[in-house]
Amino acid sequence: MMVRLTIDGRQIMVDGHVNVLDAASKLGIHIPTFCHQARLSDLGACRMCLVEVEGMGKLQTACTLAVNDGMVVRTDTPRVEKARRMMLEFLLINHPLECTVCDASGECTLQDLAFKHGSAETRFKGKKRILRDHIISPLIDRNLNRCIQCKRCVRVCEEIQGVTALGMSYRGAATVVGPFMDKSLDCEYCSHCIWSCPVGAITSRAMKHKVRTWEMEKSEAICPYCSCGCTLSYNYRDNVVYRVTHAEGRGLNMGSLCSKGFFGYDVINHPDRITAPMVRDADGVLRRTTWQSALEEVARNMKRISRESGGKAVGGIASDRLTNEDLYLFQKLMRMVFSSNNVDTPSGLWSRTVVPVLEKRMGVRAATNSLDDLNYTDALLIVGCDITVANPISGLKVKQAIRRGGLVTEVNPGKTALSRLARRSLAVPVGKELALVKGLIKVILEEGLYDSETLGKYGKFSELEFSVRDKSLKEIARETDCSVDEITQTAREFAGAKKASIIFGETAVLQAGGEKVLEAVIDLLVLTGKLGQEGCGLYPILSGTNFQGALDMGVSPNWLPGHAAVSSDSERKRVEKAWNGKVPKDGGKSAYEMIQAAAAGKLKALYLAGVNPLATFPGGEDLEKALKKMEFLVVQELFLTDTAKLADVVLPATSLAEKNGTLTNVERRVQKTSKAIDGLGHSLPDWKIFSDLGVACGEEGMNYLNSSEVMDEIASVVPFYSGINHQILADNGLQWPFSRDDAREVYHEGYLGTRHLLPEGLSKDKQFFAAVPVWETHSADSKYPMTLVLGDLLFHSGSFTRYSESLNQLAAQATLLMNPQTGMGLDVQDGSSVRAVSTQGEFTVTVSYSEDIAPGMLFLPRHFKNAPVSALMIPGPDDQARTAIVHVRVVKA
C-alpha cells in the first residue's frame, strides 16, 4: 500500500511499511541518527532523529515512526533543532575529546553531527565518566569511553552474523558493550561491529594509529579469498593498502565481509613480496634480473622442450585465484604457444568429479541458482559443507533465511557455526552421507511427498524405489547416527517447502565415491521438483576464488574455453580460428597426473602460476622429488614459496589489488575487480606476464594492451560470456549465460543476468534417476580406522593467507581437532603430540580437544606449514585421489 505524506512541505508517495527516516531520505532530507542502520532492527535509542509530527504532542523518532497517509512531518523546526543540539550535548558530556588520535576521526557520525548541529562549547562542568577498559582481542579494539551505546555492534553481531559475541552490561551511564563477562572476544572476526560503530568505540587494531581516514583513497574491488565474490573497498595511501572497508550496500554481499576479506589485506604490501624477476644462475642461485632476460629465459627453455620432447612434456598449473583474463591467457599460452593441453588448476579435481555429474544429470556446469535466493529459502539441506567457512557471506544469507524461519538441516561430519542456529544439525559419519540422502528419498517415496508434476513425467519411480528398498529407515538411522524422526522430519520439511535448495560441498564429494552422493542429491531434487525456479536449486560450493572462472576459461586438460571439449574437432576448429593458431588434439594431463609424469621423467617443463604444490598437493616428499627432477620450472608468484625456491625462473606477479580483471563467482556471476594500487616493485599482472611471454615466444597473437582487450576476446570465444565487457560490468556483476542480446538489457534497472538456470526444467534426455544402488561411498581400512577431514578454517584461505600477520594472530598453527571421547579412547591428552599416519606418509602434530568434532572423526586445517597435509594425501588417478578425506591411524608421539 502506498501512502502520501508531507515532509518539510514536500509531498512524497512511499510504501506503507517504510519509516519516516527512510521516506525523508528519499526526498534527499537527511535526518541525523546514530542507532539506525539499514538491515538492523529498529531501536529508537539515540533520540537523534527526533522530528515534529503534526497532531502528535511529543517529538517522534523518525526511525521508529511508520509513515501514515496524510502525515505532516517537519524536520527543520527550532524545536527539532534544539532537541538535536541537546542530544549532542548529552552525548558529548561523556565522550572523550580525543579526535586528534581517534582512528574514526574523519568518518565519525558524532564528529560530523556535532560539527553540523552541535554547539562549540560545553556547559558541562566537572569530570567526565571514565570507564576502565582493556584489550579484548588482537584485532578488534574497543574503547568504552568513546561508546555512545547505540547498540549497532550488538545488533549486527546478533542479527546479521548470528554470533552474539557482543552484549551490553551494567546500566545507565555505566553501560558498557563487550564480550560475555568482559572476557576476551570469542567470535568470527567478521568485522561487522567495526563497520557498524558510528564512533571510534570499536576499531580495527590492524590499522590502529597508522593512518588517518581522510588521507586514504578508496577503490572497490572483489575479495580474493573465496568463491563468494564479495565487493570490498581497498583504502590506500602512497601505494600502500592500509585497510579494507565495507562497500555499504554494494555487491551481492551488500557490503558485508568476513574476517579474511576485512583483515587479510596485509598480504598485499607484505615486506616479503617478490618485486623483481629472478633467474637461477650457473651457481644455482636465484638472482634478480630484468623482465626481458627472465622472459627470454622462459621462452627459450619452454619452446625448446616443447619442440624437442613434444607438447606433452610441457605443463602448466594456474591458481584459481587468478582473474578470468589471466586464466584465459594462461591456457592460450600453453595450448597455442607451447602446444600442450596439460593445463589445470588445483580445483581441477572438482571439475572432473562434480561437473561431469552436473552435466550428465542436468546439463549445467555450475550452481543453478543465485546466492541471493538463499536469503528467502524455506528449507535448505546442506550436505558436506561448512558454508560459513567455505563461503562466509553465503553463510550469512543462510543465517538470514534461518531468522526468517527457514528450516535448515545440516549434514556434516562435525558441528559448524550454523549448528547452533539451524533447525537440525545431523552429524553423519563420513561415507554415510549417501545413506542419509537415500533415507530422505525413501521417506518421500513412502509418504508420497514427491512432486506431482515429476510423477506425471515419469509415471512411476520403480527404479528409485528399488534402490532404497533393501534397508529400513531404522537401519539407515543407525548407520547415519541420526534418529528415524530426524530423517522423516527433514524429508517432510524439504518436500513440503515452497522454496527448497541443497548446498553441496567439498567434504561430501572430495572423498572416494563422492559423486554418488551428488547423484543421490540430484535424485532428491528431481523427485521433489525443486529445480528450475527461484529459490529451488543446487549449489555445489567450492571455496576456490575463481574455480568457476577457471573452468569457463578452459584451464582444464579436457575442456577449451566455454566448456568446449578438446576432443571435439569442430569446437577445436572454432577456437583455433579465433586464435589464429593451433590447439593440440589430445586431451592433457590433470595437475596430479602432471606431477606423476614429472616423477616418471615424462614431463620436463612446468609452469606454475600462483600455485604452491608443496603446501597443498598430495605427495609429500615424492612431490618434492618430482619437482626437483623437473628440467625447467617456472614459478609465477607473489612470494618466494617453498615451490618457488626450487624454480629455475621466478616471475613476480601482482595481487588482485594491483590489477584489473574479472572473476566468476560460485553463482556464475562475472564481476569486475579494479586495481587499487600499482604493482609493487617490478611486479606485473599475470595476464601481462603471459602476454609478454607469448610475444617473447614470437607469437603476436598474444599481444594485448590491457585486460579489457583480453575480456573482449573471451566474449568472442566463450559463447555464454558473449556481450560481457569491462564497461558493462562497471557497476554490477552479471550472471552467465549472458548474450549479446542481454547486453542491451543491462541498463534496465536491476538486470543482473540469468538468475536461475533450467527455467524449463530438465531436458528430455536428462529425465532419469541415478538410483544409486549402494549405501555408502567407501569404507575405512581397518589399518587406518580414523577418518581425517582436511578442511579450511574460517580465518585462512589456502596457504596464501599464511602471509597475513593479522590472520595469523587468529590462527597461526594447525592442531589436530578431535572429540575428547576419541582422545580418551586413544589415550591422547589435549595438547599432547601425536603422529598421524596414512598409507602415504605421516607427520607429528599437536592434538586439541573439540566437542564440535564427531567421535571417531578428526579435523585438520590444511593451511599451515607445521602440519603438511600434503604428506598424508594419496596421489593417484583422479578417482582415487581425494583431497578432503584421508583415513589415518593416530599414534602417540
Partner: protein, 428 residues
C-alpha cells in the same frame, strides 16, 4: 473519608495467605461464577462497566486492555501480573501478595478467561523473596483445588501461573521492559506501538496488569461492575491502596475510595504529621511524581485531579515531608536513584540524568551558580520531552517541581557556597 476494605478485606484475618482463609470470605466464588454463567465478553463488559483503571500508574482502563487482547486472533495469549513494585515509596502490592495471594490468582484466572489466555506469569521483584514463596505456595494450593491448572472446575478452561523473580531493575516495572526481562533479555523498554496487548511476550498478545488491578477483579465480578463504579469518583471509581510514608505519625497502606484528598489521607487516616511538625511537601505518586506543597493539600488523589494539579497518582505512593526536610537533598536522593536505575538505552535518560546529578552534586557542594539552575531546568525539559520511556520522562519531575516550588532553598545553597544547609534550617 474513612477506610473501605475491598482489596484489604482479608488482610487482618488469621493466616490470610492460606487458601482456606480465602475461601471462607467468598474466595474463588467469582471464578466459578464467571466460568459457568458468563461468557468472556460478559466478564470484559462487567469490568468495563466498573470502569476499573489500571493501578500501575498509567490508569489505562483494564476492560479495554482485555478487550484488545481478546480480539487479537493469534494464540497463545498471556496474562502477566506486574508485581515488580519498585517505585520508591510504594509498598501496597506487597501487602496483597503476602496477605491475599489468592485474590491475585483469581483475578489472573478471570483475566485469562476474559482475554482468552491460558498462561499467566507473575513478575515479582527480586527483593520480595517471601512474596514469591507465598505466591508459589498459593499457586500450588489453588492448583490442587482445581482453581488453576488444566480444566479448571471442569469448565474446560485451562490456566496456569508461573512466578518469575526479577533481578532488581526498576525499569522492569515498565511493561515492555518487564516482558523483555521475562524473555530472558536485558531489561529495556521496547518501541511502542505495537503495544503488548498485540505484540507482547514472545511477540504474542499479552495483557500486563498490576497486582492491585487484578486483585480488584474478583469483587467486581462478584458484586457487579455497577456497584464498583459507584465507589470513588465517577472518572476513577473504586478504592485505591495508598502507601503513605515519610514524616507522618502512622505510615502504612490505607485503602480508601478514589478521590480522597491529601489532607484527609494524611490527617484523618495516617495520624497527621509527626509530633510538633508541620506539613511541607508530598510526592503523591512516588519518586517520579511532581511534589505538592501546602497549598495543594486539598487536591483529590485520583488520576484526573492530580494530573490537573501538575502531578500524577502513579502507584499511589504518598511520600510526605515535614518542615525539617531539605528539599534539595531530597531531590538529590531521588535523582541518584533514577540515575542508578536508568537502563542506559536512550541518550537523554542515560547521559542527562548523569548530568543532572552532577549539577545537584555541585549545588550541594556549593560550586554552582544561579545559571546552573536554569541549565538544570533546560536539561530536565530535554530529558522529559525526548526520553524513550516513562522512566526518563518522569524522573525529572522531582527536580522541576522542587525548583518551581522551593527555589529559595536552591538559591540558599548557591549563595552560601556549601553552607546552605544552616541557612535553610533558619529560613524554615
Amino acid at each position: 473519608m474513612s477506610e473501605l476494605k475491598i482489596l484489604t478485606r482479608n488482610v487482618s484475618r488469621p493466616n490470610p495467605a492460606h487458601i482456606d482463609s480465602y475461601l471462607v470470605n467468598e474466595g474463588y466464588v467469582a471464578l466459578p461464577r464467571a466460568l459457568n454463567e458468563m461468557t468472556p465478553e460478559e466478564v470484559i463488559d462487567e469490568v468495563k462497566i466498573a470502569r476499573l483503571r489500571g493501578r500501575g500508574g498509567a490508569g489505562f482502563p483494564a476492560g479495554m486492555k482485555w478487550d484488545f487482547a481478546s480480539r487479537d486472533r493469534r494464540k497463545p495469549k498471556y496474562i502477566i501480573c506486574n508485581a515488580d513494585e519498585g517505585e520508591p515509596g510504594t509498598f501496597k502490592d506487597r501487602v496483597l501478595i503476602e496477605n491475599d495471594p489468592h485474590a491475585i490468582l483469581e483475578g489472573m484466572a478471570l483475566a485469562g478467561y476474559a482475554a482468552g489466555a491460558e498462561k499467566g506469569f507473575i513478575y515479582i521483584r527480586g527483593e520480595y523473596p517471601q512474596g514469591a514463596r507465598i505466591l508459589e505456595r498459593a499457586i500450588a494450593e489453588a492448583t490442587s483445588r482445581s482453581f488453576l491448572g488444566d480444566n479448571i472446575l471442569n469448565s474446560g478452561f485451562n490456566f496456569s501461573v508461573t512466578v518469575h523473580r526479577g533481578a532488581g531493575a526498576y525499569v522492569c516495572g515498565e511493561e515492555t521492559a518487564l516482558i523483555e526481562s521475562l524473555e530472558g533479555k536485558r531489561g529495556q523498554s521496547r518501541i511502542r506501538p505495537p503495544f503488548p496487548v498485540n505484540v507482547g511476550y514472545s511477540n504474542l498478545p499479552t495483557v500486563v496488569n498490576n497486582v492491585e488491578t487484578l486483585a480488584s477483579v474478583p469483587p467486581i465480578i462478584l458484586r457487579g461492575g455497577a456497584w464498583y463504579a459507584s465507589i470513588g469518583t465517577p472518572e476513577c471509581p473504586g478504592t485505591k491502596l495508598y502507601s503513605v510514608s515519610g514524616h507522618v505519625a502512622r505510615p502504612g497502606v490505607y485503602e480508601l475510595p478514589m478521590g480522597v484528598t491529601l489532607r484527609e489521607l494524611i490527617f484523618d487516616n495516617a495520624g497527621g504529621m509527626r509530633e510538633g511538625r508541620t506539613f511541607k511537601a508530598a510526592f503523591p505518586g512516588g519518586a517520579s511524581s511532581a511534589c505538592l506543597d501546602e497549598s495543594q493539600l486539598d487536591v483529590k488523589l485520583d488520576f484526573n485531579s492530580l494530573a490537573v494539579a501538575g502531578s500524577m497518582l502513579g502507584s499511589g505512593a504518598v511520600i510526605v515531608l515535614d518542615d525539617t526536610a531539605d528539599m534539595v537533598k531530597a531531590t538529590h536522593v531521588l535523582i541518584k536513584f533514577f540515575e542508578h536505575e536508568s537502563c542506559g538505552k536512550c541518550t537523554p535518560c542515560r547521559e542527562g540524568l548523569f548530568w543532572v546529578r552532577r549539577i545537584l552534586d555541585q549545588i550541594l557542594e556549593g560550586s554552582a551558580s544561579e545559571q546552573d539552575l536554569d541549565l538544570l531546568l533546560e536539561i530536565c525539559e530535554g530529558i522529559r520531552s525526548t526520553s524513550f520511556c516513562g522512566l526518563g520522562e518522569a524522573s525529572v519531575s522531582c527536580v522541576e517541581s522542587t525548583i518551581k516550588k522551593f527555589r529559595g532553598e536552591y538559591l540558599a545553597y548557591l549563595r552560601n557556597s556549601g553552607s546552605g544547609e544552616a541557612e535553610t534550617e533558619a529560613a524554615s
